[in-house]
Amino acid sequence: MNSSRNKEQAGSSARRLAEQAAARLGPGEKTALPVLIFLFIGFAAPLLAVIWYSFMPPRTFSFTGVPTVQNYQTIFQSTSYISFLWSLSLAALTTAVLALICYPVAYAMVRVFGPYSMLLTLLFTIPLFVSENIRLYGWVLFFIKNGVLLGTVKHLSGLDLQSLLFTRAAVIFGMVYVYIPFMLFPMTLGVSMVPAETRDAAFDLGATRWQVFREVELPLSMPGVLIGSLLTFVLAVGAIAEAKVLGGQKVIPITHDIEIAFTYAQNWPLGSALAVLLMAVVGALVLLVLRRFDLDLLLGRK
């Protein structure tokens, strides 16, 4: 009898608590709650699990082992850190190349194309929704022996050239290709934030074209450049398909090592440790860069 009454009391006090919370929370808090809860379960919790797992004894599958740093030791003593450095350098190179390639395009989208920039945006967006595998495979068909490029060359000149596939260059090529939209769109946003009048004023005050670029356009569009670079780098570091499809065995990125650890090697703690290192690098960069930006201003708050 007592226990059922206690249960009732517990239930009603829980309800009262919920009502109090609902009354105290404003519309901002209330609308944010579903997403926050979801991201906690779906993003924060798995990452925390991975971090915890990285300290578990190797080749075990439970959370309840004795914490150890053995996995990290293994990483630094093995060749894994080479893959790690490869992934980081490839990502960095990709980012640098893309920044140079895309800035002129971003500039053109904002200042040169006028009404056509909508069309161009659409054109650049469509491939984004096509799975990267498919697009990479197109490059395979392009570069492979008897493929589109070599086949045409052979047909026209009879030359039988070496395939460019399965080289490091091919992997970089593929990565640059896949991440174009991720660099281009934030950059375009950045360039559009340079008020035309400020540019004109600089010219009016006697600056040369190069000076205007260096003193006005580049600094003012820098938020877009930084965000595009950050996004490209972070995603490129996690690239998995490009290396395999275009590079064969030539390039082993860290994601491949992580995948192997999780699947074939059945060594989840090691995989987790590798993942944690990657996350640490990514996390540090993201915090560093995103900390300084006013998102309201960037996304168009009036």
């Binding site: 495979y137 086949g151 174009i180 990514v282």
Partner: protein
């Protein structure tokens, strides 16, 4: 500023942009061409044209299963992402509240994150929870990345929403529900529609997350990947072209709908 110099610069930049566009579409063109070859191996220039592989692909039960799996995931993701993202967008852009800055940055984290690592983390998480992997876990995985994207897309539209509209409707006698259904939802509809479009397409084409979280089920990108690394299969270009054409149609069609909606609002 020398105008001739400027014109030359502009011309160069236009040419460069068009080169890049060509560059972006070249592999897609290659795949489409390859889908029309009748031979078992890929050889360019194509000598034997034919649609046999198209027929074979569409009659394959395995392929139909793949398409159905990808479609189910994408539809579920779209529905859930739009609902969650709508509330998220309101919290992001509409209301001034104490945790707003924090919230805005938290939303970005899953986007600025290597997807394959996220996929693996979720794989670990699902296993730790004892959840069996199938297409529903893939839906969950997609949402972790897609909900923030959809939130951002919708937030952009919510930013330009004048809160006075809701107050005016309320002042004019509408109940809270009527304010919602007569003013808020209709005005925000283009943003909701864009969000839904993004959600569907991003889920449809996703590979890294699907790879690790679909378990026994397989999506189209996963299947294509497996076939690709194993060597050339003629069915791959066909399926690839179908997937691409579908996405393009949907995107262009969706964009057309949005333009139509906007034009409708503007000239009656």
């Amino acid at each position: 500023m020398n105008t001739r110099e400027q014109k030359l610069r502009h011309a160069l930049v236009i040419v460069w942009t068009l080169v890049l566009v060509l560059f972006v579409y070249l592999p897609i063109v290659c795949i489409s061409l390859a889908s029309f070859t009748a031979s078992r191996y890929f050889q360019f220039p194509i000598t034997r044209w034919g649609l046999e592989w198209w027929a074979k692909t569409f009659s394959s039960i395995e392929i139909r299963q793949l398409l159905s799996t990808s479609l189910s995931i994408a539809l579920a993701v779209t529905l859930l992402a739009v609902v969650l993202g709508f509330f998220g967008a309101l919290a992001f852009a509409r209301y001034d509240w104490r945790g707003r800055n924090f919230f805005q940055r938290v939303i970005l984290l899953p986007i600025f994150f290597p997807q394959s690592v996220l996929g693996l983390a979720l794989l670990l998480w699902f296993n730790a929870l004892g959840v069996q992997l199938n297409w529903t876990t893939a839906v969950f995985a997609h949402l972790v990345w897609i909900v923030p994207v959809v939130t951002l897309v919708m937030a952009i539209q919510v930013y330009s929403f004048d809160p006075a509209l809701e107050e005016a409707a309320f002042d004019l006698g509408a109940s809270r529900w009527q304010v919602w259904s007569e003013v808020t939802l209709p005005v925000l509809f283009p943003g909701i529609f864009s969000g839904a479009l993004f959600a569907f397409l991003l889920s449809w084409g996703n590979f890294p997350l699907s790879l690790f979280t679909t378990g026994a089920d397989t999506t189209v990108p996963e299947y294509l990947y497996a076939k690709m690394v194993a060597g050339y299969t003629p069915g791959v270009p066909v399926l690839g072209t179908v997937s691409t054409a579908g996405a393009a149609l949907l995107l262009v069609g969706g964009y057309g709908v949005i333009l139509l909606l906007r034009r409708q609002q503007r000239e009656l």
